[in-house]
Amino acid sequence: MPELGKYAAEVLTAYGASIVLMTVLVLASIRAARKARKELEAAEARRDDR
Amino acid sequence: MIALLTRDLKLATRAGGGFGLGLAFFLIVVILVPFSVGPESGLLSDIAPGVLWLGALLACLLSLDRILALDWEDGTLDLVATSPLPLEGVVTIKALAHWLTTGLPMVIAAPLFGLLLNLPQPGYFWLVLSLAIGTPALSVVGTFGAALTVGLKRGGLLLSLLVLPLYVPTLIFGAELARRGADGQATTTPLLMLAGITFGVIALLPFASALVLRVNLR
């Protein structure tokens, strides 16, 4: 850890909040992508069965 | 077009048409402000121009979904759209009718409400002028918002969210003009900017409103 001095709380809050927000965004995107792909594959499989 | 305008005005002024609702809301805001910030007359006269502008803007926002929603529900809008009248003209008339029923009464009533808030003497002229120039922009922008959300079941909240940031420039310059007028400062820049925004909006936004209305009627 670098020496953050008296502003440690602020710097860590800023980094923490940003990283959390970005992680949420990335995970949400990946999850939506997986779900969309699965549903599409299911729909395509049903079409091919017929 | 004149027929459409008179029809809209008649509908609005009839009982239950919502005429006066905006004005009443404006009055409520103005009356409640002294209760919430305290009766000190110096403070009130400082914030009077801003409060009056804010009241006018909120009252305007309140009445926006009436511009097109009723005509949408009873199918009038489809009829008007198939008539030879250009849709750009229709939305302009709608905005004009909205301004005549909400904006204009507020402009006329504003000096009276200014008295309640202890508005400084030189401020009255500038307050009325800024509202007279600024409120048409509020009506036109509001019509655009109403055209965007007309097909939605509960578009009221969304309409407010969409229109809110679009109102910011008008509010800033309008309130600034009224404030500077009340303080006796130079008023040329905000006056020109406010007038510029209003005229620009009146000239261009009806095309966007007509475009989205056409999409919604598809």
Partner: protein, 250 residues
């Protein structure tokens, strides 16, 4: 060189996106991690601002992305309205969610930074105010997408909103500047003199600049990866609903 419009074909776009996505993702992760670690661990403190300068490595790139993403949405919305390419408008939709998060990050880090430096979380400074307005624009845009069922209607309406909103966003920027002069320093990163070191006033020195540049590139790459991913997601969703509609008919 193939025409760029070929990528307007959803299938072609999906294929390219799938091929490119892993590379961009890895590249984004590497640049972003390097930039942030470099900035966080290996840069000195500013003699006036102490360790709070480290916030710059997130704050500035996020703010830059917040504005540029809206500009990108403006372009793709125009392309949709003029040439009716579905991929274009879906990219705008995918970008908006990234944009709203970037704006939020810029606002939060700005507030956390402003607290020790200016002694307040929030001031009605022109830049802060503009970002708040931009945040409202993003929210309105996304809310409109969510509210409308028919995808083409939603695409048309949000595109028009994006274009009208852009005009008003610029107007607001000037209005807000006029309204309050503010505490924020002027643009100090991308000013030519500041980079070459010829102007001495409020420049960001090279010690801070290189990791910052890396972070900016990292944010851009992250954005590109997310837009590819989200656009492909939207394309998949569209195709699923088309298939479902056909199932119901048959």
């Amino acid at each position: 060189m193939a025409s760029i419009w070929e990528y307007a074909n959803p299938v072609k776009f999906s294929k390219t996106a799938s091929a490119v996505l892993p590379w961009v993702t890895v590249l984004a992760a590497v640049t972003l991690a390097t930039g942030l670690v470099w900035g966080f661990f290996f840069t000195p403190d500013d003699f006036r601002q102490g360790s709070t300068v480290k916030i710059i490595y997130i704050h500035v790139p996020a703010a830059m992305m917040a504005i540029n993403i809206w500009a990108m949405m403006l372009v793709t919305s125009l392309i949709w309205l003029i040439r009716r390419h579905h991929v274009s408008v879906l990219a705008a939709k995918g970008a908006a969610s990234v944009g709203v998060v970037m704006t939020l990050i810029a606002l939060i880090t700005g507030a956390v930074w402003g607290q020790p430096m200016w002694g307040t979380w929030w001031v009605w400074d022109p830049r802060l105010t503009s970002f708040l307005i931009l945040f409202l624009f993003y929210l309105g845009y996304l809310a409109l997408w969510e509210a409308i069922d028919d995808p083409d209607t939603a695409a048309d309406l949000t595109s028009v909103l994006c274009i009208v909103g852009s005009v008003f966003a610029i107007l607001s920027r000037y209005a807000v500047n006029f309204w309050n002069q503010g505490l924020h320093q002027g643009a100090s990163v991308m000013r030519a003199g500041a980079v070459t070191g010829t102007d001495t006033e409020e420049k960001v020195s090279n010690v801070f600049f290189y990791p910052l540049l890396l972070c900016m590139i990292g944010f851009v790459l992250l954005f590109v990866a997310l837009v590819f991913l989200r656009t492909r997601t939207e394309i998949h969703k569209r195709r699923t609903s088309a298939l479902l509609a056909r199932e119901r008919l048959s």
